[in-house]
Amino acid sequence: MNGFTKISLQISLCLLVCFALPRGAAGTVDDAQSFALQAAEPYIKEGFQVREDYWGGDLGSGEKKAVRQQLFKGNEYWFWMGTEVERAKISVHIYDSEGKLAEQPDSWEKGHFAAAHVIPKGTGSYFIIVAVEESPEERTHWALVYGFR
């Protein structure tokens, strides 16, 4: 077998493997978590400890989910959300136990990443509302991680 034939065969095999493997839609919550952690990465350098535990699941376009979490006055928190569906638009917002928006203005959303920042005015339960605003997929995996300092 000459060099050209060998390389052609290798390329063909690679292409075959690539197309035979399941594509993006077969992502998992773990994939979504890795994107949420990617969003958290710059904040670790700022002293935030990111928890190992996380929330995750899948939502349809326009669907929301609430997560209730105990936060402590004196700490500062970021919640980072991610999905592996790159063309999806997601959001995360934080409300206090009375249902009043409690997040800082530097909270942000960028396509398949979103983050909410809160400096609790009081110790207690807070609601973190995650949503898939738009997505090309029927169901979109999401994951939410949080960090504090």
């Binding site: 400890q49 190992e52 699941g57 105990q70 009043k100 110790t123 609601f127 300092r149």
Partner: protein
Amino acid sequence: MIPFSKSLKLSAIALLGVTLCADAAQAPQRIDVKQMSKKVENVVVPLPNEIFGALNKLGSVNWREFVRTEKSSNFTERPRIALLLGTVIADGFIAVQAEDAPAVKEIGQRVLNLSKGIGVGNSITPHAKAITEAADKRKWENVRQELDRTQSSVQAAMNEVHDEKLSQLVSLGGWLRGTQVLTSVVTKHFSADGAELLHQPDLLVHFQTQLQAMPEFNLPLIRDIQQALGEVRPLVDVGSAHISAESVRKINEITTRLDSGIVTRD
């Protein structure tokens, strides 16, 4: 008057500003929490150092006073091992607050031995090694992260073999030890802000609900904890009122008694 070219530039800047702002969709200022409460995801139990960090900001704490390395009793009952494991991991966070490297290393070994006792030792060995290495280098942030990973790995290993209830007891053990130390500190130097850190009524409901679903763990200690959580709840479920010094003292008594029950044989 602004020239057209300048006005065009200003309009372009304004449009860009609007576009950038639109990137963050407007969140409603208020939501109906009653409606939201019906579809809430699982609670993630805060780590003891999440509370200790907030406590530290209220004034310096002599963490060395709370470091505990003496070996507790050996148990064969898996629920008891799970509770003790959570307590010992919390002790690890206390030793980190005290920056006590020998204590951190001893606790790392204790966590490994307890994990072996409950059948999940394999998943903990690399973490125990990482704890020792980070403690030797006095990299406290790394130790904290590794303790969190340890707890998470223990619980993941338990969940894999459908021991979710044991996994919940690990979190409960850690929470009880954290609360005991928090109330000791606040009892000694009372402040309304320190006492407010105990305002965790939803977590108490969460633990009570979990314990109610464990009738198979028919141990006196589990029953004691269940009853004690019922005593603690009204002391912290005070709405917008302050938690009193007397309540803090009572919670300290209760959690000290429970901690003693967790670490010593009946």
